[in-house]
Symmetry: C2
C-alpha cells in the first residue's frame, strides 16, 4: 500500500501519513506530526486491527520503546499484529525522544542520553528543557492526537513498554491513576534513582535535586503513595542489564510493601532483545485485552 | 544470550556462531562460514525450536529471501518462530548473494543485480562466475553444512521464499525432484524469462542464450517436464511488482497445463513487504508441517 496524505482534525492538529501497509487483516500505519511539546516533527506508528473497519471505537495499548529505539523497532520486530488483530486492539508506538536539527544530544554521542533516550521526562535543565518534553508528549499531546484521528476508545487504554519504555509505562500509569486500565512491562528500569542509566538521564534532564527525580521512578512513586491495580512484568534471566540497571527486585519490594499485585515472571535464558519481547508480546496483549474488554 | 564460538564437523566444515538468542522457547542463531562455492564468507540464520533439545532430528524449512535482503530480514521481521516452536520446525535463512571485498557488483550499483541479488543461479559470465554460485550453494554446500551441524532430518525438507527467493524455492524444488516434500512461495517471480528483473539477472549471470535460462525459470521448467507434487503461493493484490515482474498467471497456466495442484491465493490490499509475508507465514509453516510430519 503505502498511502500518503494529510488529515486535519477538528482542533487543527494535522498528521501526515508516511506509510500504510495491510497486515494481519488490519493496517499498520506510520505518521508524522509537528509536536507543540517537543518543538520538532515526531513520528509514531499505529496498528489498526480489522475490527476498526466496522467504525467501532477500540481499546488502545501504548507501547513505549527503550534506549536507541524509534517507533520502528517494535513495529518491525514486536510481533504484535496477530494478537491485536485477533483481540481487536489498537497499538500505538511513539518515538523515544525529539529528533532533528537543533535538538541537543549527549555531549559524547552516547546511546543512553539525548537522542533516542528521552526517558519520558519533561526536562528542566538547559539546553534540554526546550525539546525534551516526552512526559507531556506521551501523557497529553499524543493521546489527544490519537483520539482525534483514530477510532480509539480513550476510556479503554492500556500501557506497556520495554526497558526505558517499561520505566515510562510504569511511571506514566502511576502518575495518572485510573487512566490506564492495564499496565505491564518488559524488562523495565525499575528505579532510575538506583541505576547508572537513570542517574545519568535524570541528572542531565532534571538536575541534581534527587527529590525531583521521584516523579520519574516507579518504585519511588509507589513508596510515595501512587498506585495501580495490578502489574505484569516479564524479565529475561540472561539479560545483561538485569543486575546493574533493571533491578526488578526493587519493584517487587515496592509492590509487596504497597500491596500491589505484581506478576513478575523471570524467563530463564532470555536476553534484552526483541527475541525476548516478541516471545511474550502475545501474553501481554491477552492480559491487556482481558482488562480492556467491555 | 549472544553465544559465540566455532564448531568443526566431521568433514572439516567449520561454522562460527555470530549470535544466539533464546526466542519462543528455542534458539535463534546466526552463523558464518567460509563457502567453497562462493569463495567468500557467508552468513545464515537457523532457528532451532524447543523440540531440538530432546536430541530428535527435526524437519527443516528453507526460506530464500528476495532482492536486497540478507538472512536478517526474515529473521527479524518474518514472525516465523511462534509457529516453528509449536510445530517443531527448523527454519534456515541463507543470504541472497556472495558479499565482501572483490565480489563484483552491478555496474551502476542497482539493487536488482549483483550484491543482494544472486537469483539462485550458478553464473557463467565474467566476472560473476567465480563468486555467484548461489544455486550450488543452496542446493549442495549449505544443506551439507546444516546436516552436519544441526539436528536436521534431511529426509524431511520443505522450501519457501519471497519474490526472487520464491523463484529460488520453486526452481530449486523443480530441479531436485523428491528432495523437498513441501514447496511454497510468497509473491514469487514466476518467470524470469518474462520480466525485467529476470532478463537483467539471467542475461548478466548466464549470458544471452535464453535456452540456458530455462533451468532458472519455474514456468519453463514445468513446461519442460519438471514436477512438484503441489504448490502453495500467496500473492498480495496491491503488490507494486505484481503485473510487471511477478506474473503469477504464468505460473498458474504452467501448473494447469501440467496438472500440478497449485493453491494460488490472491490477498487483496497486501503489498510486497514483510507486513504481507508475516501475515501469511503461519499458514505456510502449517502447510509445510503437515507435509513434513512423520
Amino acid at each position: 500500500m503505502g498511502g500518503q496524505g494529510r488529515s486535519q482534525g477538528q482542533t487543527g492538529m494535522t498528521i501526515e501519513t508516511i506509510s500504510t501497509n495491510r497486515s494481519f487483516g488490519g493496517v499498520q500505519g506510520v505518521y508524522r506530526h509537528a509536536s507543540r511539546e517537543t518543538g520538532t516533527d515526531m513520528v509514531f506508528s499505529v496498528y489498526l486491527p480489522p475490527q476498526a473497519e466496522s467504525g467501532a471505537k477500540l481499546p488502545v495499548v501504548w507501547y513505549l520503546s527503550g534506549l536507541t529505539c524509534t517507533h520502528a523497532n517494535v513495529t518491525e520486530k514486536g510481533e504484535f499484529r496477530r494478537a491485536c488483530a485477533e483481540l481487536g486492539l489498537i497499538l500505538v508506538a511513539p518515538d523515544t525522544s525529539p529528533r532533528g536539527e537543533g535538538v541537543p544530544d549527549d555531549a559524547d554521542g552516547a546511546y543512553d542520553f539525548g537522542l533516542g533516550a528521552g526517558f519520558y521526562v519533561d526536562a528542566t535543565e538547559t539546553p534540554f528543557a526546550a525539546n525534551y518534553r516526552m512526559r507531556s508528549y506521551i501523557e497529553q499531546e499524543l493521546p489527544a492526537l490519537i483520539a482525534e484521528h483514530f477510532p480509539a476508545d480513550m476510556a479503554r487504554q492500556g500501557i506497556t513498554g520495554h526497558s526505558m519504555g517499561g520505566h515510562g509505562a510504569l511511571t506514566i500509569a502511576l502518575r495518572n491513576p485510573g487512566r490506564y486500565r492495564s499496565v505491564s512491562a518488559f524488562a523495565p528500569i525499575s528505579s532510575p534513582l538506583n541505576c547508572p542509566w537513570g542517574e545519568k538521564a535524570l541528572g542531565g534532564y532534571i538536575g541534581n535535586d534527587r527529590a525531583a527525580w521521584r516523579a520519574y521512578d516507579a518504585t519511588a512513586l509507589i513508596a510515595d503513595g501512587a498506585r495501580v491495580a495490578e502489574l505484569l512484568v516479564d524479565q529475561g534471566g540472561a539479560d545483561n542489564f538485569l543486575a546493574g540497571q533493571l533491578k526488578p527486585e526493587l519493584l517487587e519490594q515496592a509492590c509487596r510493601d504497597a500491596d500491589i499485585p505484581l506478576t513478575l515472571r523471570m524467563q530463564p535464558g532470555y536476553d534484552h532483545s526483541y527475541y525476548f519481547i516478541s516471545t511474550f508480546m502475545d501474553d501481554h496483549l491477552r492480559w491487556h485485552a482481558a482488562r480492556l474488554a467491555g
